[in-house]
């Protein structure tokens, strides 16, 4: 590590330059760049770019799944990335969200409301906030006794929670339909036409390219933006700072006046409700829930998305979710890539092996994830950030001074360097 002291004053990497460039833009310019970028992403299933488009499965459907996983990753990131609580049972909240919608709107369920007063046209929209509320309550119920535990103990308890939810769904056959699951779950009925009698969100809408997957993808983009705004506001507030402080040193945070238990519970609750939202989307899109979908391995997959993308970075975890969902589907059904013959189905089937390997490699070379966290925890920090950016750019512009010319440090600790 002796090379440290003789490196030039400031080497800015591509990522840093990109970030500095973005931060330097005025707000309107950021909108001018950001909005077309989001629109471009939203139009992906319409444009269907040649190599990127999946072969084995419908591209719109894959992107819809990505949207749901992105929500899950953002929610899990609040718990794991921001607050540092290792939650291995996050799939439980996803399941509760999906099953709430299922139980309220599936004809197989004893609690089906669509028989009596609830129109099937509005059933999903009605069930969505209920699902979010129920998952939030379940987060509260899980968190209240368990958040007194720390680290590994919390991880074990949450792992158990995820399994309990799945086992309940599997064994309460007279309510959840057991292994047969719940079918004919409601979905939003919008935009009916002669060719699409059940509206654009119906799984029956297979018209290309605007099939149901594309529409669900668009809906999830809207929800992701709303969730990002909410989570972003939280991050740049007392709440977000409390979360990071708890992650860094829980005891010190408590002694500095942070009500740690309260804010851990909030993190759990917010993470859970976002998971429930994603579950409700899933139930509506697939119109069918079975317990095996909510296997505990999915928790690992969600966690993989968060760690891969960059814990604590919202953009990073969305990228992580994209990789987790897209890559296996990219290979599915492919027999050749750029002229090289490959067995895509095999590659897709071994996805857990590859993600495991990817994680190991990542932990060695880039433990902070693909897009590392660069949190902004202050609402009105702009003037400070501007001053920092100026100083960073000035330092980057100056040629490297000789090590001896370095400004005398105010510490003379021996061997500290």
């Amino acid at each position: 590590m002796s090379t440290e002291s003789i490196t030039p004053a400031l080497q800015l990497g591509v990522g840093d330059r990109l970030r500095l460039w973005w931060d330097a833009l005025a707000r309107p310019t950021q909108w001018l760049v950001g909005v077309p970028f989001i629109v471009l992403i939203a139009l992906l299933p319409v444009i269907r770019p040649p190599v990127l488009t999946t072969v084995g499965t419908d591209f719109g459907g894959v992107l819809a799944q990505f949207g749901m996983y992105a929500l899950l990753a953002i929610g899990l990131n609040v718990v794991v990335g921001q607050t540092g609580l290792l939650d291995l049972g996050y799939v439980g909240f996803y399941a509760i969200g999906a099953y709430t919608v299922g139980l309220l709107t599936s004809p197989d369920s004893p609690w089906n409301l669509t028989d009596d007063w609830l129109s099937r046209d509005w059933a999903w929209l009605f069930a969505l906030p209920v699902a979010i509320a129920i998952t939030a309550i379940s987060g509260l119920l899980l968190g209240t006794p368990t958040l007194r535990l720390r680290g590994d103990y919390l991880a074990i308890v949450t792992l158990g929670f995820g399994e309990i939810v799945r086992l309940l769904a599997d064994n309460l056959s007279n309510i959840t339909g057991g292994g047969r699951g719940l079918s004919q779950i409601a979905y939003p009925v919008v935009g009916e036409s002669a060719s699409k009698p059940n509206g654009v969100f119906s799984a029956g809408n297979t018209s290309q390219p605007l099939n149901s997957g594309t529409w669900w993808f668009w809906l999830s983009i809207v929800l992701i933006i709303i969730v990002l705004l909410v989570v972003g506001n939280l991050e740049r507030s007392r709440v977000g700072r409390a979360w990071v402080a708890i992650r860094e040193d829980e005891d010190a945070a408590e002694i500095m006046g942070v009500p740690t238990f309260k804010f851990k519970l909030w993190a759990f609750l917010i993470g859970a409700s976002i998971g429930g939202l994603s579950g409700a989307l899933y139930a509506g899109q697939v119109q069918f829930v079975v317990p095996s979908t909510f296997n505990v391995i999915n928790s690992m997959l969600f966690l993989c998305a968060v760690v891969l993308g960059g814990q604590g970075n919202k953009l990073g975890v969305i990228l992580g979710a994209f990789i987790i969902v897209y890559l296996p589907n990219f290979f599915l059904g492919r027999t050749e890539l750029f002229g090289i013959p490959i067995n895509g189905n095999d590659i897709a089937n071994y996805k857990y092996l590859f993600f495991g390997l990817a994680l190991v490699v990542l932990m060695i070379f880039r433990p902070q994830g693909l897009i590392p966290a660069r949190q902004k925890l202050l609402t009105y920090g702009r003037s400070i950030y501007v001053a920092t950016r100026r100083a960073a750019l000035a330092l980057a512009a100056t040629p490297a001074p000789a090590p001896a010319a370095a400004e005398p440090s105010d510490t003379t600790e021996g061997g500290a360097r």
Binding site: L10, G13, G15, R17, A245, D249, I255, L378, T388, L395
Partner: protein
């Protein structure tokens, strides 16, 4: 490329740079490893942030805007009454009684294992006394939660630095100011007027505090990248940010050289003059004798002396227990 996760990975992904400033891990457990962050090893221009930060009087005013002590200097602020703390068979504190008075710097000294830190932890609510009582500002603090004790007005620093290492210096201090804030999740989501007011206030106060302890230009540096001395100062700033009535410093000069100790003494005096009451646990006798107004000496969990520094340092019991007998006295 000594470490595989280190420089190579960083530069490859273009997320890493390193300044010429000393990056000192100090005594923190964390080894300095690149984490891919822009280590903002830059001094920011304070005038661009807030021109008023150049005025020390303005800074001191912002730092202690709520001081009420001047009217009551000398009144007891914290009273330890016959406090005994036992851990199983071990008696760490045995019937200790003393006061901390408003507006003073009280030194708490004693040999290793004398019970200084136990005393300290009892005051800050980490340990509950087995018997006896601790009264702060007229209120017993027997069953108050730890995070509420901060709100009562006791703030502390740690012997082994415990900053939020991944946060910037400024954010660390803002966490301290948050102890006085009441915005919770709904307020933050909808950006309530109270939230916005608190955020503005926190930023102003935090910048002023950083400037007050002398590290204003390092505000946006990750706290783990600050030099050891700056980390100690940052801990003091973070503790002051909670608007304490009593500031407890646990060996703030550990690992300092004489020049740094001198500037720390100046800072402690400046804090007292700004209206705070300070409790200082310290081993360095020159620092204790130089800065404190009164000294309490503990040995084996008992108080053996209590008085002004000159008195205490000539007390035979203290000399025998702690200061050691000078060579010429034995001769």
């Amino acid at each position: 490329m000594s470490s595989p996760g280190g420089i190579g990975a960083g530069s490859e992904h273009g997320e890493e740079f390193r300044g010429t400033e000393d990056v000192v891990a100090g005594s923190t457990a964390e080894e300095y490893l690149p984490d891919g962050g822009v280590e903002e090893a830059v001094a920011i221009d304070l005038a661009a942030v807030d021109p008023e930060l150049a005025d020390p009087e303005h800074v001191a005013e912002v730092v202690a805007s709520d001081r009420t002590v001047h009217a009551q200097v000398g009144e007891p602020l914290l009273q330890m009454q016959d406090v005994t703390v036992r851990f199983g068979g071990l008696t760490a504190l045995d019937g200790v009684t003393f006061d901390i008075r408003r507006g003073e710097i009280l030194g708490l000294i004693g040999p290793n294992g004398a019970g200084k830190t136990t005393c300290f932890n009892t005051m800050s609510g980490i340990y509950r006394p087995t018997s006896g009582s601790v009264t702060f500002d007229g209120r017993p603090i027997g069953a108050v939660k730890r995070n509420q004790i901060t709100r009562l007005g006791i703030a502390r620093t740690f012997q082994n630095i415990r900053l939020f290492s991944d946060m910037t210096a400024l954010e660390n201090v803002v966490v301290g100011t948050d102890a006085r804030h009441r915005t919770s999740v709904p307020g933050a989501i909808f950006r309530s007027p109270r939230h916005r007011h608190e955020e503005r206030d926190a930023l102003d106060r935090a910048m002023a505090l950083l400037e007050f302890v002398g590290i204003g230009t390092r505000a946006t540096e990750k706290s783990r990248n600050l030099s050891y001395g700056d980390q100690r100062r940052l801990e003091i700033a973070r503790a002051l940010a909670t608007q304490p009535k009593l500031l407890c410093l646990d060996e703030p000069a550990a690992g300092f050289n004489p020049a740094e100790k001198q500037s720390l003494m100046d800072l402690i005096r400046k804090i007292r003059d700004d209206g705070y009451t300070v409790l200082l646990i310290e081993h360095d006798m020159r620092l204790v004798m130089g800065v404190t107004d009164r000294v309490v000496v503990l040995e084996f969990g008992r108080k053996i002396a209590d008085g002004v520094p000159a008195e205490v340092s000539s007390d035979p019991a203290v000399i025998a227990a702690y200061l050691g007998v000078p060579d010429d006295a034995t001769a």
